[in-house]
């Protein structure tokens, strides 16, 4: 008998005769979490992610590239990792290249440029899939265009978020988007820049992930 079979046999012999009924998670959320309008959700999202030390800028579909440039200029960043295969990435590359920013694409497998990625990319720009108001949380689903490390390794991460894509809760997001029927290889909730309080409970930012998280919050008709 294998370890697997022995463990399962022990557990099966010891299972309680009758299990409890399935818990009513949806009922709990319906009774304990508000369902808010777009403006309230955006305000709540902003409040909590700013508490977690993220920098948030309200932008419009017309001016967000300008704001992105200002964010980079304020930090004297001249190189940006982005995804030209996406609409937002192409648009940013188009305009930023003309303003003297060197735009780098994640165009090959990480093994072919790991050193460069870890040491010479000062900032990454991605879009967020959605967000959660309750906790001030960005939802990222890395893909071929914006792979996993793009939002992790560069010291500054700038995120474009469509404010109409904010859910009340994480639970609501998973339900409405049907996550249980199709998750990507890696799904992420990000709620601020990387941090730690492991030395004498003193909070310090920039532990292993981005030191700064900048959110461009794109309004409907701002």
């Amino acid at each position: 008998m294998s370890a697997r079979d022995r463990i399962l046999a022990k557990l099966r012999n010891a299972m309680p005769a009758e299990n409890r009924p399935a818990p009513d998670v949806a009922g709990w959320f319906a009774g304990h979490r508000p369902v808010e309008g777009k403006a309230e959700k955006a305000a709540r999202f902003r409040h909590f992610i700013e508490l977690a030390h993220a920098e948030v800028h309200a932008v419009s579909s017309a001016n967000w590239v300008q704001k992105l440039w200002e964010v980079l200029a304020a930090r004297e960043i001249r190189r940006l990792l982005l995804a030209p295969g996406t609409e937002h990435g192409a648009r940013a590359m188009n305009q930023l290249s003309q303003s003297g920013i060197e735009c780098r694409a994640y165009d090959r497998a990480i093994e072919q440029w790991k050193e460069e990625m870890f040491h010479y990319i000062p900032a990454g720009f991605t879009a967020a899939r959605a967000a959660v108001a309750e906790t001030g949380t960005l939802i990222l689903w890395p893909d071929d265009h914006e792979p996993r490390l793009m939002s992790l390794v560069p010291p500054v991460h700038v995120v474009l978020l469509d404010s109409t894509r904010i859910y009340n809760t994480f639970f609501e997001a998973t339900q409405q988007e049907g996550w249980k029927d199709g998750l990507p290889t890696n799904a992420l909730l990000v709620s601020g820049p990387s941090k730690t309080a492991d030395i004498q409970v003193t909070l310090a930012y920039g532990a292993h992930g981005p030191k700064e998280l900048v959110v461009l919050l794109m309004g409907e008709d701002a």
Binding site: S2, I7, L11, P16, P23, D144, K180, T185, I199, H208
Partner: protein, 476 residues
């Protein structure tokens, strides 16, 4: 790195280790300050008593429901992980788990493994096993990194280096990290750790992590963290190995949001952690990063023993938030190392006997005032004080057949049981009681001045020269 083994210390040394901490004002202050901070932060996250109460009830329900069908869920998880391309391994003992992980390392000729925070990897002493096999095992959580540099074990399951001052860490970095000048600026110290470990994430052959929740219906491994090292370990190296206890499984994705909320709010008083990382497979052919291979090791190590008893099974509801230790008056005074086990504090006292046997842990359950704080704050309502009472019973009752626990009766002493029997008899019979108090008042002078542990901090016990009944008689 420190190659020497760091073994489980036997429970017999508990009193001495506890006393050493109680006598050390700096350690006392470190723990007191940190626990006060964590308690305050947790309280601020739960301003609404009804919300907390109902969420704890939901959390308990979710955990009990999932434990109620655990073997079925393990099989479902295995199927769905396999479908997603994740390899599943099973281990009954720490040795088996180490052999599996080292086997994966050797298959890839791995020289360096970077580790995200994993208490289960501490439980199996993976670092020691890896070093013995010539594989470097480097902790990358800042607290774990500090503890490893110092050659110690974590003193808290959420804040591993809570027993160290920043000055001690400054000295440690200066002495152990090449080219580092002394600085006790916390930001600077963290940046030193970042710089050293960033290079290691880049170089590592294997990334190891724990698991906070494994979702059976989707075949997903979930990790909670703030630093980003967990994401690094599970994303940058070509191979990711996750290890978890068999109990950390939920059937449905919808079970995750309530448990996540309870976990981060109870643990560190955050409404959510910086990162929540959901892994459902290795890199796909068209993807550009992520590990080429993902493995999950499922460890029993005594959990199935707890599972077999309706009361003890509640131990497995734990989501490892650490709130019980943050609120424990004993933990706050003696810190995590005194317990001598991987898991300290109230949760350590109820889970360790299943892992190590009562022979090694018989006295652990007695290191409690039974004040009930741990049970009151537990986000999944584990009745920790009741379980402590049960473990005392298992440890100190006479050995019997078919015990529920390995090492049952390990603390049994016939003369102690005889004394308590006599005590009970005296209180049941009025004539025996009168005789006993009469003897007590006459022979009080025979009481020794040294009464063992009692007189180390108290004046000796001595029966009064006159009994209450005699005094009442004199009054008429």
């Amino acid at each position: 790195m420190n190659a020497q083994p760091i073994h489980f210390k036997p429970s017999e040394g508990f009193r001495g280790r506890a006393k050493a901490v109680v006598d050390n004002p700096f350690l006392r202050q470190s723990f007191r300050g940190a626990m006060d901070f964590l308690m305050t932060k947790r309280a601020a996250q739960f301003p609404d008593a009804e919300e907390l109460d109902s969420l704890r009830t939901l959390g308990e329900h979710i955990r009990q429901y999932n434990l109620g069908k655990l073997p079925d869920l393990l099989v479902q998880l295995e199927e769905n992980l396999a479908r997603n391309g994740i390899h599943v391994h099973w281990a009954e003992t720490p040795d088996e788990a180490n052999a599996i992980i080292l086997g994966i390392c050797q298959k890839h000729s791995a020289k360096l493994m970077v580790k995200g925070k994993s208490m289960v990897s501490e439980e199996i002493e993976l670092n020691h096993a890896a070093e013995a096999a010539g594989i470097g095992a480097l902790e990358s959580d800042m607290g774990e990194y500090i503890v490893q540099l110092a050659g110690e074990k974590p003193s808290h399951i959420i804040m591993p280096a809570i027993h160290k001052t920043k000055e001690e860490i400054a000295t440690l970095f200066h002495e152990k990290v090449p080219g580092v000048d002394y600085t006790d600026n916390v930001d600077a110290l963290i940046q030193i750790g970042r710089r050293v470990l960033r290079q290691k994430f880049l170089e590592a052959d294997i990334g190891l992590s724990g698991v906070n929740f494994a979702v059976a219906e989707t075949g997903t491994l979930c990790l909670v963290e703030n630093e980003g090292n967990g994401r690094m370990c599970t994303t940058a190296p070509p191979v990711h190995v996750a290890i978890t206890g068999i109990e950390k499984i939920v059937e449905k994705l919808e079970h995750v949001p309530p448990l996540l909320s309870l976990l981060t709010r109870s643990a560190t008083g955050q409404n959510i952690s910086t990162y929540f990382n959901m892994i459902s497979g290795p890199r796909k052919p068209h993807e550009k990063d992520g590990p080429q291979e993902v493995h999950l090791v499922l460890l029993d190590n005594g959990r199935s023993q707890a599972y077999a008893d309706d009361q003890l099974r509640k131990t497995l509801q734990c989501i490892r938030c650490g709130a019980c230790m943050n609120h424990c008056p004993v933990y706050t005074r003696i810190g995590g190392h005194a317990y001598g086990t991987t898991y300290p504090g109230p949760i350590g006292k109820i889970i360790s006997p299943h892992m190590l046997g009562l022979e090694a842990t018989a006295t652990m359950a007695t290191a409690s005032s039974l004040c009930g704080a741990c049970g009151e704050v537990c986000p999944v309502r584990i009745p920790i004080p009741e379980l402590l009472m049960r473990l005392r019973e298992e440890s100190f009752s006479a050995p019997h057949e078919n015990p529920a626990m390995r090492g049952q009766g390990a603390g049994y002493k016939p003369w102690v049981t005889a004394i308590w029997r006599g005590w009970a008899a005296v209180y049941r019979s009025p004539s025996l009681y009168r005789l006993a108090t009469w003897l007590g008042s006459r022979f009080a002078w025979l009481m020794p001045s040294n009464q063992g542990p009692w007189t180390t901090v108290r004046v000796p016990l001595k029966p009064a020269p006159k009994r209450l009944r005699d005094m009442l008689k004199e009054r008429g």
